[in-house]
């Protein structure tokens, strides 16, 4: 169970093991690079071997070394991501433990102050009772002459004790309020530590996803499949010429969403670093460098931090809306394209055309849009990972370029898939439309037909 107090929990994870794994991955990267060089050298170690086979052999060695080198590069990227993750997690755990210690201290002071307030109230009540008793005795004796001196003295002591109790109670109340404020600050610091841990985990996940996506295939085969690559360039030309296609929309909205998300993450990370430093009373800068946050905000306040978190949330929300709108438009434009293709055909009835538009348009638009989004996501993450060598600006530029390239490749792949498989929704869509118009009995047929289609594409 992770250490926890007052709603503050130390983020889970073994920072030391992550750093050890980073070192191991770095070593692996070095070994893979050496293996790649050894493969590069193989063709030169066969004496004067001349002939078609020697040329093929040399080419194959170079392809393999390219794959191994890509693995070395991925391992290097993974090592960097693990190192940053380990360091960030260690900071977050340290801050959370510090916050827990502060919260425990504050809670102890709260309990002590509450006890002191109760004690002061009890003393004040006892003093008031003694004061009252002494006052009664004085009142009774005043009828017959001089009040007894001991009663007068007791009344004076009781009033003095009451005043002292009131003073102590007021002091304890102040201490209680201060301790409660300290507890609230400790909880806020704990919350920031948790958010920081989540941010570094997300960054590590994105870096590993980027290093996994496309890399192994490229490594094993010496480059991405040529069909996808060519399709990507074709999609780029199409997207640039006609942005309102599923591919174009995926390209644009995917890039916009990715960049907004990355900007939000950057903002969070920068403020979290600043927030952590602020809480520990230091003034060090992010990665030892002055950032745009320190330039424009100066010393970070709680209010500035809260504002930054809200801005980051809004950026992500806008990104999600842009993506949704892009998807909707992609489906609509996909349907419009199909209608444009079918409108002049005499061999199709109106019902056929409606069914085809509904099925193929939506299908093609959605598939190419989805492919674009996946590609843009992977591309942006990969680009951001490359660009992160230069903080913020490099990340943003890398993400933008990566998103565009990834979107192009992804949308090209999506369109390729949609084109190759559009026969299924075409048949199902046209048939479904006719059946819906014709009769209820025919509906049974289409269910069977759809079942056969599904059976035919089920690989299991």
């Amino acid at each position: 169970m992770p250490e926890s107090f007052a709603g503050i929990t130390v983020p889970e994870g073994e920072a030391g093991e992550l750093r050890s794994a980073a070192k191991a991955l770095s070593g692996l990267s070095h070994d893979l690079e050496l293996a790649a060089r050894a493969l590069d050298n193989q063709p030169t170690m066969l004496g004067g071997w001349v002939g078609p086979a020697s040329v093929a052999y040399a080419g194959a060695c170079l392809v393999s070394s390219g794959g191994v080198r890509a693995g070395a590069s991925a391992a290097r990227a993974g090592a960097g991501a693990l190192r940053r993750f380990g360091e960030g997690l260690q900071f977050a755990q340290r801050d959370a433990r510090h916050a827990i210690a502060q919260a425990r201290d504050a809670q102890h002071r709260i309990d002590r102050a509450a006890h002191a307030i109760a004690d002061a109230r009890a003393r004040a009540a006892a003093a008031a009772a003694r004061d009252s008793a002494a006052a009664s005795k004085i009142a009774l004796t005043s009828v017959v002459g001089v009040p007894p001196p001991d009663a007068v003295a007791e009344q004076a002591r009781a009033r003095s004790d009451a005043a002292a109790a009131e003073l102590d109670g007021a002091g304890a109340q102040r201490e209680l309020e201060e301790a409660r404020a300290d507890l609230a600050r400790a909880k806020a610091a704990g919350r920031r530590a948790t958010e920081h841990a989540h941010a570094v985990a997300r960054a590590a996940a994105a870096a590993f996803d980027a290093a996994s996506g496309g890399g192994p295939a490229a490594g094993a085969n010496g480059g991405p499949p040529s069909g996808v690559r060519d399709g990507g360039w074709v999609a780029l030309a199409r997207a640039l010429g006609s942005p309102l296609t599923g591919a174009g929309l995926a390209l644009i909205t995917g890039a916009v969403e990715q960049n907004l998300n990355l900007a939000a993450n950057d903002l969070r990370k920068l403020f979290m670093f600043q927030g952590g430093e602020m809480m520990s009373g230091g003034s060090r800068l992010v990665n030892g460098r002055r950032t745009w946050v320190t330039r424009y905000v100066g010393s970070v306040t709680e209010e500035a931090y809260d504002r930054a978190m809200k801005v980051a949330d809004r950026l992500e929300k806008v990104g999600r809306r842009v993506k949704f709108a892009g998807g909707l438009l992609g489906v609509v434009t996909g349907a419009a394209d199909q209608y444009s293709d079918d409108s002049g055909r005499k061999d199709l009835s109106t019902t056929d055309k409606v069914g085809r538009v509904a099925a193929i348009g939506a299908y093609k638009g959605a598939v190419s849009y989805g492919g674009g989004l996946v590609g843009a996501g992977a591309g942006a993450a990969y680009g951001a990972a490359i660009g992160s060598a230069v903080p913020v600006a490099g990340t943003a530029v890398g993400a933008a370029v990566g998103a565009v390239i990834g979107g192009v490749i992804g949308s090209g792949a999506g369109e390729f898939i949609a084109d190759k498989t559009k026969g299924i929704p075409l048949a199902v869509g046209a048939r479904a439309a006719n059946i819906a118009v014709d009769s209820a009995k025919a509906a049974e047929d289409v269910v069977k037909g759809a079942g056969k289609v599904l059976d035919s594409i089920n690989p299991f």
Binding site: G13, A24, L46, G51, G71, A204, A205
Partner: protein
């Protein structure tokens, strides 16, 4: 027909080197899988563990494929060396006209 020159013994040596490289790649693949599995276990609950594990699986699989490819290429080299020798010896043994 293009010109062919060959030193079969060097091809045989190349076979051994490729086999050794393939074994080394397979070993590195195992190390990668093990390292990333450890890192995934140490990642905590932030969601990075699955990405790290997938990375390790994807790349170690790719390296396994590369190791197999390199091993097969080495084997082909050995077979080629044998074939060159056999062809040459067959010509020497062939009776003259």
């Amino acid at each position: 027909m293009p010109r062919i020159e060959v030193q079969p013994d060097l091809l045989s040596a190349g076979d051994a080197r490729q086999s050794a490289l393939a074994a080394h790649l397979a070993e590195l693949s195992t190390q990668l899988r093990s390292t990333t599995a450890d890192a995934a276990g140490a990642a905590g609950d932030g969601g990075a563990g699955s990405s790290i594990a997938f990375f390790g699986h994807a790349w170690s699989s790719a390296l396994d494929v590369l190791a197999d490819t390199v091993a097969m290429r080495g084997s082909n080299l050995g077979v080629a060396a044998g074939a060159y020798l056999a062809t040459d010896q067959a010509v020497v043994r062939r009776p003259g006209p």
